[in-house]
Subunit: 144 residues, 2 copies
Amino acid sequence: MGYVIDEIDQQIMRLLQHHARMPIVQISKEVNMSQPSVKERILKLEENGVISGYSTIYDLAKLNRGTTTFILLKTEHCEEFVHFCEQAIEVTDLYRISGEYNYLIKVQTATIEELAEFQDSLVKLGPSKSHISMKNIMEHRVLL
Amino acid sequence: MGYVIDEIDQQIMRLLQHHARMPIVQISKEVNMSQPSVKERILKLEENGVISGYSTIYDLAKLNRGTTTFILLKTEHCEEFVHFCEQAIEVTDLYRISGEYNYLIKVQTATIEELAEFQDSLVKLGPSKSHISMKNIMEHRVLL
DNA sequence: CCTGAAAATAGAACCGC
DNA sequence: GCGGTTCTATTTTCAGG
């Protein structure tokens, strides 16, 4: 194996983490290195799969999806459930988990009423347990 | 309120969602619109806070953080717990939730052994319940 | 890993609907 | 208000060392 991420790579990665559209010139200034060198480092991080993509973060409240809920669900119809989640716009995250429940999903709805409707569509698939987020304190942090 | 996101904005947002570094020229070709117009639309989405940022996605396995676990925790020392999470590199997400438990955190560790160590550092803060992710089927999806 | 050129992209000013 | 065209500045890419 062995892709070595050195201190400069980490600096670059910390900058890119929350500023994915930052121009390479600016990154190169911050890490005191020439543009082509920084570009090559980023390219290698991409090629090695350390960087797996660049995403845009949307304010879900502005998209009428401001209510975050985590739902644990136990089902015997796994394929059906996964397929259901893939075409349900409310579901943003889906994990196969260990323990009493099969799956954990993260759901974004406009309101609690809409959440209730979503839960209704879930009951036929199996028992579930919901935890509404009252505050999203931290999200998507990888590096300090 | 009232920021109207039309069909073209949505097209742009769908493109940017998973390709945040895509050049504006390329976006403008895909949506059949001039470069400055696309740029202005993106600027407005940023100004209105619909776009709240651009982030880089890292392969956590490549960073020796490939084990994903969700931990529900009940504590009476909220401030202390939040502060603990903020300085704990393992914690990537932190939510204040309703229900039997106070908080839900997402934790990324190298191995299950490391997870156990992390859990040890948590016991003094209150009772908790862990769900290890055996498969991350979907993450961070907002738009279809 | 750096420098220096050419090429591509982004940004600004202005025009028309 | 919205989008298009042109021109300029910046950034990226590609030589070569």
